[in-house]
């Protein structure tokens, strides 16, 4: 796409995020199978492989795949129990699905030549809106009008409450935005930085430093891939807690 101008980069660091049709070079319509489609499919497949096929043996002494599946299950289960409380466990299947999907999308994106689906706000925005709408509906169904206590803080002095209400409403509606942009932004930033360092590796004088930096950034990105999935899930649990117990 962007070719070198005056000894600059051979490739553009943002080229890796371009959505392309999987077959041919036609225009992208809503039904076109693109690289996003492919990697979304592989992500779902990887999550299913670990959770369903990994635990199929039901061994007392688990093998590696089963250990990973049990660790993920235990991590998310404990997270919901600690943060949302016992009654949040009804929504455990969705939260585990969310965690596994994001963690595999992030990790598969780190495979060389792969496409990172979570780097697109279209993908993370849908995930965040699903959480936001779901949590709002659960809040109103479970608590009725008492859900609005979330914005009208009774423990604060009466004079401060309207100001707090405005702040609470804004912070409530910025939730899907910050959820989606945090995940997508982290993925874009990390992958772009790796690509920028990879571009420096073409210059002989700084090549050794650049290659070490790429390795370091890659290791850091593996950590970030997990942490961002963890953060998304934990914030989902926090929002779920607000929906189930809005008064405190």
């Amino acid at each position: 796409m962007a070719t070198a101008t005056g000894g600059g980069l051979e490739f553009h660091p943002m080229d890796q995020f371009v959505v392309r049709p999987l077959f041919g070079d036609g225009a992208v319509a809503w039904y076109t199978p693109t690289n996003v489609t492919l990697w979304l499919f592989l992500t779902a497949l990887a999550a299913i492989a670990v959770l369903v096929l990994g635990t199929r043996g039901r061994a007392i002494v688990p093998n590696r795949a089963q250990s990973v599946a049990e660790l993920a299950y235990g991590l998310v289960y404990k997270m919901i129990e600690d943060i949302s409380g016992k009654d949040g466990l009804r929504y455990f299947p969705y939260v585990l699905t969310l965690f596994m999907f994001i963690v595999f999308a992030n990790l598969l994106g780190l495979v060389p030549m792969a496409f990172t689906v979570t780097s697109h706000i279209a993908v993370t925005g849908i995930l965040a809106m699903a959480v936001f709408l779901g949590v709002t509906i659960i809040g109103f169904v479970k608590n009725g009008a008492h859900f609005l206590d979330l914005f009208w803080i009774r423990s604060a002095p009466l004079a401060v409450r309207p100001i707090l209400a405005v702040i609470e409403v804004i912070s409530y509606f910025v939730r899907p935005l910050s959820l989606s942009i945090r995940l997508a932004g982290n993925m874009i930033a990390g992958h772009a930085v790796i690509k920028v360092f990879a571009g420096f590796a073409a210059i002989a004088a700084v090549a050794p430093v650049a290659i070490v930096a790429v390795v370091g950034m890659y290791a850091f990105e593996v950590l970030v891939a997990f942490v961002q999935a963890y953060v998304f899930t934990i914030l989902t649990c926090v929002y779920l807690k607000d929906a189930l117990h809005p008064s405190h």
Partner: protein, 78 residues
């Protein structure tokens, strides 16, 4: 020297957003440092607070990501 004044302003703006990311880095460091300081005083209570640590880090980091988003919008969308 080519290009117009709008492009100049655009690139200066992108450079300025780096401040936002830098200050977000200070914020995240502050969260982690204070967590460590507290955890070393009472290590037995630290394990239960890792979730809070990550939530705090996520909130501090989000604002830096917002400034990164502004940079991306200036570079590729405006």
């Amino acid at each position: 020297m080519t290009g117009d004044i709008a492009e100049l302003g655009q690139y200066i703006g992108v450079g300025l957003t780096a401040f936002g990311m830098g200050f977000a880095a200070l914020g995240v460091g502050n969260v982690a440092g204070n967590f460590l300081a507290g955890a070393l005083r009472n290590p037995s209570a630290a394990a239960g607070q890792t979730a809070t640590l990550f939530i705090g880090m996520a909130f501090a980091e989000a604002l830096g990501i917002f400034s990164f988003l502004v940079a991306l919008l200036l570079m590729f969308a405006v």
